[in-house]
Amino acid sequence: MIIKGKAWKFRDNIDTDAIIPARYLNTSNPKELALHCMEDCNANFIKEMSAGDIIVAGYNFGCGSSREHAPIAIKEAGVSCVIAKSFARIFFRNAINIGLPIFESIDCAEQCEPGDILQVDSDKGIIKNLNNGEIYKTNIHPDFIQKIISLGGLKGYLKQQLKRREQNV
């Protein structure tokens, strides 16, 4: 998978309240959630971003609550992927499960500048900075996670498991 987009940079420890504040959680409608994506850490983000842009953040992105509304808001806003130095574990699961591409790269988070155009090659595990030609390494997910991704998220995987059980009965 190749993903290309403009970088928006965020600090360490971006929590899920910053990604989608609880005051908007009285709905699970993705379009409504997307309107408030990242509102409490950068109120201009949703107004100024374009479809395909990339969130680049520091350590522990998505810490705090288990709300899946956080990756949903990011995905629905049109963000193509999130690159962070590290992810909080529930956010990591949620993003994989709903099909939001995420990548860990300390180099990218440290070296790229806001507005740089990044190109992620998920199969090779590299991120290219098209502004200056720099290459950053990123992780390649374990086989099981890749399988969920290839099925479009956990929905595809559950459907497969249910079918398997039906056939075994």
Binding site: D17, N26, R93
Partner: protein, 420 residues
């Protein structure tokens, strides 16, 4: 090398043998639950996947506790989805408003989570039940929908950090102070993807209520969960609550730990987490004068009977400061009723506090105590992120119930010694 309690519980729930740290395994789930924020997405997922039924009608819990009693039409529509799903699948453990409590206090109280269980909840504070010696893991809605359908989940085998606490705690210092102190030592990502196992003489002497408080906030250090080996206090707690068989697991003396951290807490003073992070923790004596507008006592962290008793002991014979709103919300109806029978609710109301039905509302800035721009709260809850309790320019200070009560009386963050 021996095994730790987490490895033993995982082994009892998986067909995979000889797994090692970092392996992804499929585990059987003893109980799966969600709330009015997370359940609608889990139900949507469950139905879109055309799952025919839940894996076990006695082992799926649905607890509308966040925006309930419903604060607006949208949240009422969300709760309706839960109610209809519970009815459609005849779920035994749906808890309606009035018979409800905050999920992480309610499920142990009802004897639905037991030692040795593997529990999955669509709420990050699911780790609370680790205090019973269960592996209780918080996830998102999609994972929960999967668990409701199959009674299974996938997980990565986590390393475990063992924390040993020594020393006799000062009066007015409890589980909240221990966990805030611990998080400050390792940071908000210090236990990311790991389990925090709490033990040592201080924990053995700690009440169940304080143990729940400690495990509750393991997630605030990024942990997969917190856990405490069951002992006679655990067994006494569950004795009258269940007839379901359970199994007590303990870590071997030579168990495999990533790290062992010893903490002497004999001289620990009440701890305060300053805005905007649960690891921005200072001893109460170090923070100077901080005026407050609101004090909040309750939540899945500190809304149990011991917490209310402590707050009442401080408040008895005092009035809430004229410029402060004190909001008390017991974590379950049973706790509320017990507090009433003990005369505790009367002390709160006489002092000038608002006492609320159980809800997560104020803790996450949902309803029942939202802060305006520039306002400050001291709170016994678990998070003090930007905007957590209301306006993005409001501030939350986390503390134990004694400090919250003393602060409510004096109008500033205060040590008990300052209350005459």
């Amino acid at each position: 090398m021996g095994n730790n309690i987490v490895e033993k519980i995982l082994q009892a729930h998986t067909d995979t043998i000889n797994f090692k740290i970092g392996d992804i395994i499929s585990v059987k789930v003893d109980f799966a639950f969600s709330n009015d924020i997370t359940a609608p997405l889990a139900i949507e997922f469950f139905e879109e996947c055309k799952a025919e039924d839940v894996f076990d009608k006695t082992r799926v819990g649905i607890i509308p506790d966040h925006f309930t009693p419903n604060k607006d039409i949208k949240s009422a529509e969300q709760s309706k989805i839960l109610r209809e799903f519970a009815r459609k699948y005849q779920l035994e453990n749906y808890f309606e408003v009035g018979r409800m409590g905050i999920e992480h206090a309610l499920l142990p109280e009802k004897g639905l989570i037991l030692p040795g269980d593997l529990v999955v909840g669509a709420d990050s504070h699911t780790d609370t039940s680790g205090a019973l010696g269960a592996v209780a893991i918080g996830v998102g809605s999609t994972d929960l929908g999967y668990a409701m359908a199959l009674g299974e989940m996938w997980l990565k085998v986590p390393p475990v950090i063992r924390f040993n606490y020594y020393g006799k705690l000062n009066k007015w210092v409890g589980g909240k102070d221990l966990i805030l102190y611990t998080i400050s030592k390792i940071s908000v990502s210090g236990a990311n993807y790991k389990v925090m196992e709490f033990g040592g003489e201080t924990i053995r002497n700690l009440s169940m209520d304080s143990r729940f408080t400690m495990c509750n906030m393991a997630i605030e250090a990024g942990a997969k969960t917190g856990i405490i080996e069951p002992d006679e206090k655990t067994l006494l707690y569950i004795e009258s609550r269940t007839k379901r068989p359970y199994k007590v697991y303990k870590s071997d003396p030579d168990a495999n730990y990533e790290e062992i951290i010893d903490l002497d807490v004999g001289t620990l003073e009440p701890q305060i987490a300053l805005p905007h992070s649960p690891d921005n923790v200072h001893s109460i004596n170090e923070i100077g004068e901080i005026k407050i507008n609101q004090a909040v006592i309750g939540s899945c962290t500190n809304g149990r009977i011991e917490d209310l008793r402590i707050a009442a002991e401080v408040l008895q014979g005092h009035k809430v400061h004229p410029e402060v709103r004190l909001i008390v919300f017991p974590a379950t109806q049973a706790i509320y009723q017990q507090a009433m029978q003990e005369g505790i609710i009367d002390i709160f109301i006489t002092a000038g506090a608002a006492v609320s039905t159980p809800t997560c509302g104020p803790c996450l800035g949902g309803h029942m105590g939202i802060l305006a721009k520039g306002e400050r709260a001291i709170s016994t809850t678990n998070r003090n992120f930007v905007g957590r309790m209301g306006h993005p320019e409001s501030e939350v200070f986390l503390a134990n119930p004694a400090v919250a009560a003393a602060s409510a009386i004096l109008g500033k963050i205060a040590h008990l010694e300052e209350v005459k």
